[in-house]
Symmetry: C2
Subunit: 225 residues, 2 copies
């Protein structure tokens, strides 16, 4: 069952008190089902009754776990952003060589997207369900990611003889291509995750940024029946 896995490990974090995990586990289930419905129907088209019913309780019961519809959306988005931080930015920022850093970033982000594409699309699509202040917070967190990519590409341009086009446009297109995966990737698709990662790595890192040696550019596609 290729379900998304964002929230299901929440209860396993070391908790302040021993068996308080019940509520957090239930909350994680609610987040998970809410994410799926919001992804499928859109935030505004999803009522709290929809979410409650899918989670196996009533709207009033749901309010035992959340404080408002917007809080729920905001929490879901921040959980997704936390994953980007922990799974992509943190590992990549430990790599000193900018070329290697970029490859690690692509690999980690592609993996994350293919695991959590629903969360990524919700983060992109549903920001106008948030109040202005919270929308701004989410934008800031996204900006951090762009900045990281920008600086890495700029460093490659400055410190190596790789020929990079305009760093701004390259960064936007680079991240755009990655994010766009969340719109087209599906677990039952033609290629395996590894094949897709290889292709994206070739398209973005080797070609678009320009890290590929001419020899590497000749890599043929590995299509599958």
């Amino acid at each position: 069952m290729p379900e998304n896995l964002i929230f299901e490990n929440i209860g396993k974090r070391p908790l302040p008190l021993s068996k308080k995990s019940n509520k957090e586990v239930r909350l994680a289930q609610i987040f998970k089902v809410a994410l799926r419905i919001i992804h499928d129907q859109g935030y505004y088209a999803t009522s709290l009754n929809d979410i409650a019913k899918a989670a196996g309780l009533t709207k009033a019961g749901l309010y035992h776990y959340i404080s408002s519809k917007e809080d729920l959306l905001y929490a879901i988005m921040n959980f997704g952003m936390d994953l980007v931080d922990s799974d992509v930015l943190e590992p990549a920022s430990k790599v000193i060589d900018p070329q290697e850093r970029l490859r690690i970033l692509v690999k980690a982000y592609a993996n994350l997207i293919m695991e959590e594409w629903q969360a990524i699309t919700v983060i992109i699509n549903e920001t106008n369900g948030l109040t202005a202040a919270r929308r701004q917070n989410i934008r800031k967190r996204r900006q951090v990611f762009y900045q990281f990519v920008y600086e890495t590409i700029q460093q490659i341009k400055d410190e190596t003889d790789v020929k990079v086009l305009d760093v701004g446009v390259t960064t936007l297109s680079f991240v755009g291509c990655l994010v766009w995966m969340a719109y087209w990737y599906r677990p039952d698709g033609r290629l395996t995750k590894e094949q897709i990662t290889d292709q994206i790595m070739g398209l973005l890192v080797d070609r678009m940024v320009g890290l590929g040696a001419p020899a590497e550019l000749v890599i043929e596609s590995r299509t599958v029946a």
Copy 2:
């Protein structure tokens, strides 16, 4: 005033009868203002009162011009799609050489996006405001575009010695990069439209697909203060 220009020439088309254009002109104004508000707030967060007020009438008056909220959205989306057909697909499909065809397509589509980025984002974001049948129609129209790009890239791979990676992934990334422009392009940005088009052409056609001669790959970015 860098406003979008989708609908303002509608009244100028040769009309069946002489002075019937008034209603169509007004309708075009309504579409234009509705597009702006729906882009800014999202479809569900935009009430018909919002649109009516911005168009200078009441909700009941608005219903003199539209038949339902969903019809309005559907009409806006189809107008945008019509533009893609007439401004991008039609000119490009007349070019026989696939490499040149791809360049024409990128140039035309980049121009369209920079002129009508609000319409493009609405088409992408608000499809779930449509009934299933209409949503399917919009998807089909998008699919036609993907198919056109796919076949062009496939033709390049088959008929030339250009080394193309997996055509499917390349197509999705290629179109994704273009569409993504609608999310980041703003008229008051750092680069001119021509500079952006040059950069996108270099990133997508020369590099990602692989049409650039090694010499062309060395083109430096033309950044502006």
